[in-house]
């Protein structure tokens, strides 16, 4: 089952790259949901010979929270705030794809000098999770819209999560659940704040109040 984890890892990076290259926010959310879905499958492949209840639970919770609820919240948010696409990225899309490719190389290069102790599930986990993280950062840094930044943050989280899921069992299940819940609540609060920002925008439309750029409606 080793290679199935590999496939998930590669897909995670692939989808992170496509999130970086997508300009429509709806598309980005869908890609993120797909990425989360593949990640949530990883625990199932971990101990293929003996699927434990813990793995199943983790997979299920991840799938529900990250692949269903978080995208649902994000969709709800963009329905309420009229933010459709990234307009003026700090770095152009073409350049950011090339930078993304370079970042992937960097992630693998860093991983070269890190030897994982103990038995490995897959050698691709570390470089791929680093690459996903870096691509998420790239998305956050180069995009100006609030929603795209949230998505970048979620991609970073997915990268971290990939790493966490497949490497060890040092975390008690309860704490891992706590981590997942925290991230979920974080997105929830971000969505609420965005909603307030949008209301405030509607309220002050046409007045001379200076508005932050990333809140622009259109």
């Amino acid at each position: 089952m080793m290679s199935l984890i590999d496939v998930c890892c590669i897909l995670a990076v692939f989808l992170a790259l496509t999130v970086l290259a997508t300009h429509r926010i709806v598309g980005m959310i869908k890609l993120f949901a797909l990425q989360s879905f593949f990640l949530s499958l990883v625990p199932l492949f971990l101990h293929a010979e003996a699927l434990s209840g813990r793995d199943l639970m983790l997979s299920l919770v991840t799938m529900v929270l990250k692949a269903a609820l978080v995208p649902a919240i994000l969709f709800w948010t963009i329905r309420h705030i009229s933010m459709r696409s990234e307009i003026k990225p700090i770095l152009g899309f073409g350049a950011s794809i090339l930078c993304g490719a370079a970042l992937i190389a960097v992630a693998f290069w860093i991983s070269l000098s890190l030897r994982l102790p103990g038995k490995l599930t897959s050698s691709l986990v570390l470089p791929c999770s680093l690459a996903t993280m870096l691509l998420g950062f790239m998305t956050m840094v180069t995009r100006t819209r609030a929603m795209t930044q949230v998505l970048g943050y979620m991609v970073i989280e997915n990268g971290i999560f990939l790493f966490a899921l497949s490497l060890f069992d040092a975390m008690p299940l309860l704490i891992e659940m706590g981590i997942l819940l925290d991230i979920f609540v974080a997105v929830f609060i971000m969505a609420i704040v965005l909603n307030h920002i949008n209301e405030e925008f509607e309220r002050t439309r046409g007045s001379a109040v200076s508005r932050p750029k990333w809140g622009e409606s259109q």
Partner: protein
Amino acid sequence: MGGKSVILSFLIAIPFMGALAVLLPVRPLFRRWFFWAVSLTHALIVTFFWALRPAPEWQGYLVLDPLGLILLSVISLLFLAVSFFMIGYFQYEQRGNRIFTACLLALLSMMTLVSVSYHMGLLWVAIETTTLFSAPLIAFHRDWKSLEATWKYLLVCSVGIALALMGTFFLAIAAHDTHTLLLPAILSAAPSLSVNWLKLSVIFLFVGYGCKMGLAPMHSWKPEAYGQATGMVVVLMAGGLTQCSFLALMRVSQICYKTGLSDFYASILIVTGILSLVVPAVLLLSEKNIKRSFAFSSVEHMGILVLGLGLGGLGIFGALFHMVNNALAKVVMFLTAGSIAQKYGSSRVEDVRGIIHTYPMTGIFLIVSLFAGTGMFPFATFHSELLILNASIISKHYLLAGSFVLCLAVIFIGMARIVLAFVYGQPTEPVLAKKENFFMNTTIVVAAVVLLGVGLWMPVSLNRALHEAVTLIGAS
């Protein structure tokens, strides 16, 4: 206290239950007193801990060690002060306080959890949760600026804390053989930890928690958030939240000490510390908003803490002492700034001048804040800063000592410039003419007096706890 002790869990649970309770539709006045009552109970229990340390709970996940005790006491004190201040503050606010109080109580619960958690994963969860509960507090005014500040705080801190999570996982890999992230287990397995992974983990943990602390390159959220949140919230953030992250950094320090990575960690700490002194020194000189300039002062104090931790020995003692002093100084500074902002509806120098003529008491408080915040003589902040300076001279970091003093001097000038402009000059009319309030003023006075008192005479028990804590981090 052998056997099954539940007092720590109880201490975490009370405020959390309280948070749920205040969500009930009751009169705002009741909420204010209820919040004060919970804080008082919390403070009483914590006082009791000074006499009798509680036993570990939850299979060693919750442990109160001297480091935690100091932080817990600081937090408890802050909440007591804020809850008392709030009784007065909300007399003038025509708005509900349901969510506000609930978030404050939840924050108290989570900060308590931070100070007693002995598992690095649990610590992360607790610190992240404090971010989430404090975000709604910043958006108190619900206008553009405060929402923008909330957003910035939420995003920067979430990303920062995500890095800390990665660092926690790296730590788990470094401590692969222990199969747990309980602090004692990691410490006892210290010699067998993988150094490369540990280094990576230390860097990530430092950047992550440092982001939450608002250290210099990651401080961008701080002036915005502190500038927009109400004074009470800022007190809790500047004195409590940031120091919770500092506790995490001290835990890292404990691990580094045991594994012989102290020098590596110290170099990171010292560089960031000095940077956190230089940046606010420069930015303060052109700041026109009192809250923002106090925020830069908070960056400075975080820099001092980190610097002390990095210098080791006497520096650690100084840093721990400074934790207490910084919290008290923040109470004075931000509660004063908060009451000014409430009275004048602004905290910008164009709108507020000549406070001493309109509100003599508040004017005096502002002057006191200046001295307390910049570490002038009679206040305890002076002593802790002196200790850290001393540590840097003992360890022959003369250049460091020189720039430390220089930065403090420049910061004093920057702060004095804006504070004096506020206090003296042609008085401007307050937007909302209000009387001085008993609750608000009492809180500030008591905090200032305690800060002064600790500076003149340090209680024996505090001294002992500080020394115990220092031995935990590993200095002789």
